[in-house]
Amino acid sequence: MPIGQTLPFTAVRWDDVLFVVLAIMLLGSALLVVTMRDIIRCGLAMIASFASLAGIYVLLGNPLLAATQVLVYIGAISILVLFAIMLTQTKNAPTRLVFQTQAWIGAVAAVVIAAIIAGTVLTTTWPSTGAVAWTATSDIATMLFGQYVLPFEVVSVLLTAAVVGGVLLARREPPADKEDRS
């Protein structure tokens, strides 16, 4: 039995419900990311926000992006972050003061930025089609390996460089006396 376009007994569309739920999850978990004391929990909240965003990508008719979001952000970046947290977490590190002294100015600035963006968005008339256009993965593939092949290659080089750079930076410096032995 196919599910209807709208919530039963109401004119509220499923899409809208889904959107609201996902948006609340997204913003809520993002807020938790920036406000919680325990940094490990922050990391976990970040995973939640990434996941909600993947859901929104589906709503926007872009399943490939959603998949990529899950794979890259949740699968790679979040894990990386969690590892970094574990590497840098010291027991005596002060966990009390998570915020800067300038935090309240930052909050005000953030609110103002949000207001400006929202105001701008709402007062602008966009050339919107009014409906989500489904993006086929094959179209993306065609474009990525056709028109955008050069950027694609550049990005691959960048990624390689980043990996090498990351390894070099994070490498433990060999102590001087060991250098003599080698």
């Binding site: 940094i39 709503l59 590190a93 930025i113 993006t135 993306i140 990005v155």
Partner: protein
Amino acid sequence: MSNSLDSYLVLSGLLFAIGTFGFLARRNAISMLMSIELMLNAVNLTIIAFGAFVKPLHVHASVIALIVIAVAAAEATVGLAIVIAIYRNKKTPLVDEYDSMSQ
């Protein structure tokens, strides 16, 4: 609501603002990196929303978003590596104690 570009853009703006606040307010370097990721995601959301609603941008937006994700990954790699390297020298992940630039 889900068919309106505005709602996605506003959502993205809010996410960006939260990321901004995190970047400005948190003391921990890794928290700041996470905030940057949030902001990048907000940008990505914008791009994809435009792609879904604006005809000429269709598919192109997806490609750009993919590239952004790739770059974000590279950024995360290098950024975390730097944080670890600094942590080794300074023995603290707290950014406000990194002030070698003030000399």
